[in-house]
């Protein structure tokens, strides 16, 4: 091993082929991932073709019945509703978060670091606590109703919680930081000379935004969408707390199959469909990101 060898490969370290010791040291990590990520997913897949017995046990057979049930209009509607809510959440997060991310990326270094810290606190604060904050505000005996009543704007308390609006507020509030940070990541890398070039060529701010800034920050929007859209589809805790049982989402149905209803094969089938949706979104966004990067 000489300095010449590492100089020949300037990118990355001078890597050696692993001996058996290196493999033995890596083995626990690889086994951990196989045992607790790959194998469980495979078992989930197998379960989705099984049947349940009367007491909630699992009979190992082969049936398409669970997938036929997924196509039942009742569940199809829940799937579509979840996608709709998650889509709306994602859209609102982009609309609310994009200008913030862009503003932070364009700020001076010290101010930028301060603003980033301000995004980090909600980012790392448990979504459960932040959802509870909205419950204290929206509940019938909560703060907003108290305020409205003390101002004599309303006599009877309004039912603000357990509404579709409350669910969307809860989801947007929980996921907004997860959209701001990735967009900030790509807005920070944006070469501002390109934007100035657009201005010099006579583009107005809106034109420069739509044909230069947005396309160049698309990878950030794609990454944010992956962090917001897919988790929001399956998030049962926020829909449970903010929507009551009124607006069940796919996450609530899956949770219910595994806990109360004890129909694991059907829950597994729903899980497999959700996993396919996740994989599809992932691939689509990756491809889009790759195309834009090229």
């Amino acid at each position: 091993m000489s300095a010449d060898a590492s100089a020949a490969v300037p990118s990355g370290p001078d890597r050696r082929p692993p001996g058996w010791r290196a493999w033995a040291l890596l083995a626990p990590m690889v086994l951990w991932l196989l045992l607790f990520v790959v194998v469980p997913a495979a078992i989930l897949f197998v379960y989705s073709f099984c049947e349940r017995d009367e007491v909630g046990g699992v009979i190992f057979t082969f049936t398409w019945e669970n997938y036929q049930r997924v196509l039942d209009p009742v569940y199809l509607r829940i799937f579509l509703r979840s996608i709709g809510y998650a889509g709306l959440t994602t859209l609102l997060c982009v609309v609310l978060g994009y200008p913030v991310a862009y503003y932070i990326a364009r700020a001076g270094e010290q101010r930028r670091n301060q603003l980033l810290l301000l995004v980090m606190v909600p980012f790392w604060t448990s979504f459960l606590i932040r959802t509870y904050a909205w419950i204290t505000i929206l509940k019938q005996e909560g703060l907003l109703n108290g305020l409205l009543q003390s101002l004599h704007l309303t006599v009877t308390p309004l039912s603000l919680l357990y509404t579709p609006t409350a669910v969307v507020i809860g989801l947007v509030y929980a996921y907004l930081p997860f959209m701001i940070l990735p967009i900030y990541g790509s807005a920070e890398k944006l070469d501002h000379a390109l934007v100035e070039a657009a201005y010099d060529l006579g583009a107005g701010p809106l034109r420069a935004f739509s044909s230069v800034i947005i396309p160049l920050t698309m990878p950030g929007i794609a990454a944010g969408t992956l962090l917001v859209f897919v988790p929001a589809i399956g998030m049962f805790a926020i829909t449970d707390l903010m929507g009551g049982a009124k607006v069940p989402m796919i996450g609530n149905v899956i949770q219910n199959q595994f806990m109360q209803a004890r129909d694991w094969p059907f829950g597994a089938a729903l899980g497999v469909v959700f996993m396919l949706m996740f994989a599809l979104t992932y691939v689509l966004l990756q491809r889009r990101g790759a195309r834009l990067a090229a």
Binding site: L25, M29, L33, Y47, G97, S126, A133, T136
Partner: protein
């Protein structure tokens, strides 16, 4: 990419063109929007904390300052038990996550493994996979092999989603490390293990601490995977909070939330400090 700049002493420099008013207006609007969004993000949290000191039971009217809710929190058996469980689970899973993540990052960095790309993809999956899918598939795994749910199963779940974060943090640090460091150690007669222990590991310390903090925080806050892999005895704090929040308003929850928020602020500030060290 270096930008060409005119020398400032250039005698016939044209006056710097003023930015079109539209752009200035746009920037002001962006600033205003940012302030509004931060208001939206912070107002509920601030209200939550403020009302944890309100003497009356969740009334819009301020009835005086009290620490009563905090005292009751400390006297609440189930919450304290859940908090203890959470701390135990977070400590053990952080330790395991740090070991798996640090060793994994170093090996993937140092050696040319076959399938290295596939392994890297496999590591990324738990970070992006929806938690509910991880929760139900782990539940099915444990049911299939007949492993009783409890502390072990919760810890397994937590390690699975948290060690990739440690691995990525350490990998980022390794990328900036001078390969000559290890070579010098080896040339001076250290074994690969010694050079890792005495040379590489100390350099990685800020990244490891940052990764450990992340793993600990993720574990303390985790609800969904825990929901599917816990038993009654291994109930964690988030599970307890979820149960209480479902029932209704409870000023004790405000107090508990305030403690969590304070811990998060401390964590964020400390992480920022570590990042500064990392860049040094």
């Amino acid at each position: 990419m270096k930008k060409c700049t005119l020398p400032t002493a250039f005698p016939f420099q044209a006056p710097r063109p003023r930015l079109p008013s539209g752009i200035v207006l746009l920037h002001r609007t962006l600033g205003f929007w940012t302030a509004l969004v931060f208001g939206f993000l912070y107002l509920p949290i601030v209200i939550l904390v403020v009302y944890s000191f309100n003497a009356s039971r969740l009334n819009i009217l301020w009835a005086g300052f009290t620490l009563d809710w905090y005292v009751r929190l400390l006297e609440n058996g189930p919450i304290i038990r859940a908090a203890k469980n959470s701390l135990i689970i977070a400590s053990i899973s952080t330790l395991l996550a740090v070991i798996l993540g640090t060793v994994g990052a170093w090996l993937l960095h140092r050696y040319r493994f076959r399938l290295a790309r596939s392994i890297q993809t496999l590591v990324a999956i738990p970070m992006v996979m929806p938690e509910i899918l991880m929760g139900i598939s782990l539940l099915i795994l444990f049911a299939t092999i007949g492993f009783n749910l409890g502390f072990t199963t919760v810890i397994i779940g937590h390690v699975t989603f948290s060690f990739p974060f440690v691995l990525v943090a350490v990998q980022a640090r390794l990328q900036g490390l001078d390969p000559a460091l290890e070579e010098a150690a080896l040339d001076l007669g250290a074994t690969p293990l010694q050079s890792f222990w005495f040379v590489i590991l100390p350099c990685l310390r800020p990244a490891i601490v940052a990764g450990a903090l992340m793993a600990f925080t993720l574990s303390m806050d985790e609800l969904i995977v825990t929901f599917f892999t816990r038993s009654a005895a291994s109930t964690t704090l988030p599970i307890q909070v979820f149960g209480l929040a479902r029932v209704g308003l409870n000023p004790m929850l405000n107090a508990l939330s305030a403690v969590f928020i304070l811990a998060t602020v401390a964590f964020v500030l400390f992480s920022a400090y570590l990042r500064k060290l990392n860049h040094r």
